[in-house]
């Protein structure tokens, strides 16, 4: 592919410099990967970090995003967005699905998406093989896309200052830049992914390098975006304002731009959402390489944020390119590169090229490693194992063979990508090619999602669904892509197969009105889901399917894998160790089994017993290296197994699920028990508190009763023992005895009264009463007290007040109590007590004010407690029974009223009670 260029030679954009920069960059990536692997070996993982995890997911953004989004935006405006909306929605809303995939994959040592599907449907080698074939065929166009993008960006940049590369599609393979790029990438991928002689599923160094690449491509794209938006133009507003001024561009800024229908938006969003889950490379970085489930928490916002950032400048670059290059025929897919080139920003152009290289290498490395693992584990190994020569108990180490197979697969896959590029690459824009791959990968959705949530899915159903969906995909998208590039007759697309109208690949069975991708998605998923469900329903799952189904469907519920419970037979431990050694290498096998022995408190690996647990352990070790289906076959080859019937499997699973539900039940019970204990404790506390209150009450009552009894007994004994007591003393003592007896009687009555009111046994005689009359009668009843102490009593009673419903005697008891208290505290001689009755805010109030010492603020509530008067309870000596105010308050509250005190020390006290009028007034008016 020759690049033509006129004018002066650039000091920067020369092949040696471009190649040199690329080589330095790739070397840097390799160094990072090497460091990551080394740290992993030392047990100090660099990727045990949620940010690196989220960045590695950004391998989703390939050259398609890097160059193609701008190309698509130049045609459809915001039509490039669904490809990022889908993943954003899936990450934001589908965390539970990802979590289930990750947990299932870890529990079963899943190495790839083919392994996942094969394992779910009874560790079926056939299914694993089919998924691999679909993945390889489906992904090849996508790899071709990366090759095309890197090649054309290289041709462009070394052709500087020309803005178009002259492409000769028929040049010999060996002279084709793309071919060499494919080989370089293959070599690089081999170095990355299959450097070690250990064939496990994890590649820490690769993940670290991919995370770095994600940063580089974001920075490079951001740099060109800033340059275009703020260098060539005057910010976002300026770019859009100028585009709006241009009739042809204005439509691009509208959401409905490019005549894209709602169906297209929906199907592209849906498709991209499936792609983020089921693309082999996404499955690799998201599921297989996941270090900790907790990392998902950051990824679900950081990855969408990354997508937002990398899309920020797409429209300005697209519009800027369209305006700058109007009429010059510059390919919109190259705007990212050609805009800085046209502005003589050579270093920026070089950075952009490296960013694009970054996007491509990231994708190619992860994708081909994922695919090569699938090809090796699910396609080649099963075939080789079927060849008896290898399946025999050969002593030699097969781990080297595994690596050779994977390396071979990498080369083949990249060459297939090149082949597709040669055959069909020129017919489509970057995005078009990528969407073909997305549609292929979408075919995994029914078997994957169905497998994780529906126990009824069977191997045959999955096979039928995948085959049907894949066939429709090939017919409606893959073959037409060949046809468009002239490799197949054009009549295939225009007239249909054999000229049959109904078989036109883009209007299958007469379905029109959809774009190619939506059309394919509709028919392929309809066929896929239909076949999957219909065939699955045709027969019940087998024992193997049922046992796997349980592990996948209940992945989030099971705490202990039931795997080993589902194996019965006999095996020899030494043979198992040797078998694992053949695939992992003897040293790694020894280490792994030694760890197992330590966990089970067995001193020596030689003493291991080949029970179901050990067999299961060996199988899971193998699964990490060669996939679950092959691992199953290998273990079966050395162990004498007794196949379990479906009934037995069901029994075991039932037992497991019964155990689970039993333990859930236990958990629930113990929670209930805890709750009950808590309630009992609280109740006990309340009882203790009540007990304490009762004790206090009893102590108080006892004290109150003992005090008058003390005087009565002492004087009685004095009078009895000493008949010669002076008459004067005798009379004095007798009157003390009488008054103390009265005090005692009063006390007993009030205690009983209080108890009756509190227990609700008091009798209430409720009638219409006149509160003014009650106050007057109470004043009359206590007038002797006032006279005795020479205290003035003033009544100030409002007239014309409505009647209330209440108990006359009880209310009198309240007023008398307040009056007695007032007179008790009013100073003798100068004492004054003022009683008011008035109406306020829908209630009647009575206030009794004295000019006594007043009540300290802190005592104003205490005095309403039983046996409490102002001051410290230990030092205060009750001057009454200590029950008058508590009883009065109970009475007032019985009639929905309130009783409180207002007082300033030294300025007397006012006791006020209020009784509501509402109910009473209504009756008055009636």
């Amino acid at each position: 592919m020759a690049a033509s260029g006129a004018g002066e030679a650039s000091p920067v954009l020369q092949s040696p410099i471009v190649i040199g920069a690329s080589a330095v960059y790739l070397a840097l990536l390799f160094a990072v990967a090497y460091w990551g692997d080394k740290r992993a070996d030392e047990g100090r993982s660099v990727i045990a970090n949620p940010t690196i995890y989220a960045l590695s997911m950004a391998v989703y953004c390939t050259t398609w995003t890097y160059y193609g989004s701008v190309g698509r935006a130049a045609v459809t405006g915001v039509g490039f967005l669904p490809i990022y909306l889908g993943p954003t929605l899936v990450m934001a809303l589908g965390g539970f699905l990802l979590l289930k995939m990750i947990r299932t994959a870890k529990a079963n040592r899943i190495t790839s998406i083919a392994d996942f599907i094969a394992s779910r449907y009874g560790k079926s080698q056939l299914l694993g093989g089919l998924v691999t074939v679909i993945a390889v065929i489906g992904i090849v166009p996508y790899i071709a896309l990366q090759l095309k993008a890197v090649a054309s960006s290289y041709d462009l940049i070394v052709g500087y200052p020309a803005l178009k590369a002259v492409v000769e599609s028929n040049e010999p393979v060996l002279a084709d830049t793309t071919f060499w790029i494919a080989l370089i990438l293959a070599a690089f991928t081999i170095l990355f992914g299959t450097r070690h002689l250990d064939a496990t599923e994890r590649h820490e160094g690769m993940v670290a390098a991919v995370a770095l690449e994600s940063v580089v491509k974001l920075l490079a794209f951001g740099a060109v975006g800033l340059f275009v938006t703020y260098g060539l133009y005057d910010g976002f507003g300026d770019v859009f304002a100028r585009a709006l001024a241009d009739e042809r561009l204005a439509k691009l800024t509208a959401v409905a731009a490019g005549n894209r229908s709602y169906a297209t938006w929906f199907s592209l969003t849906f498709l991209a959402g499936l792609a983020i889950l089921f693309l082999p490379r996404q499955f690799q970085v998201t599921v297989v390489e996941n270090v900790s489930e907790a990392h998902l928490k950051r990824a679900i916002w950081l990855f969408p944020l990354y997508l937002l950032l990398i899309n920020l400048f797409v429209l300005p670059i697209a519009l800027g390119g369209l305006m700058r290059f109007a009429g010059q025929g510059v390919d919109a897919d190259t705007f990212v590169l050609t805009l800085p080139m046209a502005a003589q920003q050579e270093w920026l152009a070089l950075l952009v090229f490296v960013g694009g290289l970054s996007a491509a290498t990231g994708m190619v490395i992860v994708e081909t490693i994922a695919l090569s693992t699938m090809v090796c584990n699910d396609l080649v190994m099963p075939l080789l194992l079927r060849a008896r020569a290898l399946a025999l108990h050969a002593e030699h180490d097969l781990s080297g063979l595994l690596l050779r197979i994977r390396r071979g697969a990498i080369v083949v896959i990249l060459l297939l990508g090149y082949l597709y590029f040669r055959l069909a690459g020129d017919a489509y824009a970057l995005v078009g090619i990528g969407l073909i791959s997305f549609s292929a990968v979408a075919q995994f959705a029914p078997a994957m999602i169905g497998g994780m949530y529906w126990r009824g899915g069977t191997r045959d159903g999955a096979l039928a669904g995948l085959l049907a969906g894949f066939a429709v995909w090939a017919y409606t998208l893959l073959l037409p892509s060949f046809s468009k590039s002239g490799w197949m007759p054009a009549s295939f697309v225009s007239d249909g197969l054999f000229g049959i109208e109904l078989l036109k690949p883009h209007q299958l069975f007469g379905l029109t009105g959809l774009d190619d991708i939506s059309h394919c998605l509709f028919w392929s998923l309809a066929a896929n889901v239909g076949a999957y469900i219909a065939v699955s329903l045709m027969r019940a799952p087998t024992a193997a399917e049922a046992s796997q189904a349980t592990q996948f469907v209940d992945a989030l519920k099971t705490t202990r894998p039931v795997g080993s419970a589902l194996w019965r037979g006999s095996a020899d431990a030494a043979e198992l160790i040797a078998l694992v050694g053949r695939f992992l290498g003897p040293a790694r096998a020894q280490t792994a089994f030694a760890a197992y022995a330590r966990r089970h408190d067995i001193a020596d690996v030689a003493n291991l017993e080949a029970d179901a647990d050990l067999v299961h352990y060996a199988e899971s070790l193998l699964a990490g290296a060669i996939g679950s289906a092959s691992a199953r076959a290998m273990v079966a080859s050395v162990a004498k197994e007794e196949p379990l019937s479906l009934g037995e499997v069901m029994n075991i699973l039932d037992e497991a699920s019964q155990l689970r539900s039993y333990s859930r039940e236990l958990e629930r019970k113990s929670r209930q028990l805890e709750d009950a204990t808590g309630e009992l404790k609280a109740a006990n506390e309340r009882l203790r508190e009540l007990d304490r209150l009762k004790d206090d009450f009893m102590a108080s009552v006892s004290h109150e009763l003992r005090t008058p009894l003390t005087s009565i007994r002492a004087f009685s004994e004095i009078l009895r023992d000493d008949p010669k007591t002076a008459l004067q003393d005798r009379e004095r003592f007798l009157s003390i005895i009488v008054s103390e007896t009265e005090r005692l009687t009063r006390l007993v009555n009030q205690i009983l009264d209080m108890a009756k009111i509190e227990s609700g046994n008091a009798e209430w005689l409720v009638e219409e009463v006149d509160l003014g009359g009650i106050v007057e009668q109470s004043a009359a009843a206590t007038s002797q007290l006032f006279r005795d102490k020479n205290v003035a009593l003033e009544l100030d009673l409002a007239g014309g007040l409505p009647l209330l419903r209440g108990d006359r005697d009880r209310l009198m008891q309240v007023v008398i109590n307040l009056l007695s208290n007032a007179v008790k505290f009013a100073p003798a001689g100068a004492g004054k007590v003022h009683v008011r009755l008035f109406r306020a805010q829908g209630e009647l109030r009575v206030s009794v004010s004295d000019n006594g010492p007043g009540i300290r603020r802190e005592d104003q509530e205490v005095i309403f407690d039983r046996f409490r008067q102002g001051g410290d309870s230990m030092t205060s000596k009750p001057t009454g029974t200590g029950l008058g105010l508590p009883i009065s308050r109970k009475i007032v509250e019985y009639f929905s009223g309130r009783l409180w005190v207002e007082s300033e020390p030294g300025q007397g006290a006012s006791f006020i009670f209020s009784l509501p009028l509402q109910n009473n007034e209504g009756e008055d008016n009636a």
Partner: protein, 121 residues
Amino acid sequence: MSKKVLIADDEQNIVISVEFLMRREGFEVSVAHDGEAALERIRADKPDLVLLDVMMPKKNGFDVCQEVRADPAYAGTRILMLTARGRDTEVAKGLALGADGYMTKPFSTKDLVDKVRELLG
């Protein structure tokens, strides 16, 4: 010289009865109606015996007892607590604070007189 007895109680009728009994026994009697007054009288009169109520205004009997016992000058002063709070823990508390005896109200006058004689004898 007759012994001096201080009666500290806020219940007037009880004071009258105990005062009558003490005078009949020939003791010199003084009276206090609250805890602070009791302490003043103890310092002023240096009584040989204090009949001390627990629940008094201003300062309770336990505190009075504690203060008296904290001062070695009154080491010879006998203290008999008289109280209506008759729980065992309170008896123990009173004795722990250095009271020489404890009587629960209502008490027998004979017991009281015997106890006073014993303490002053």
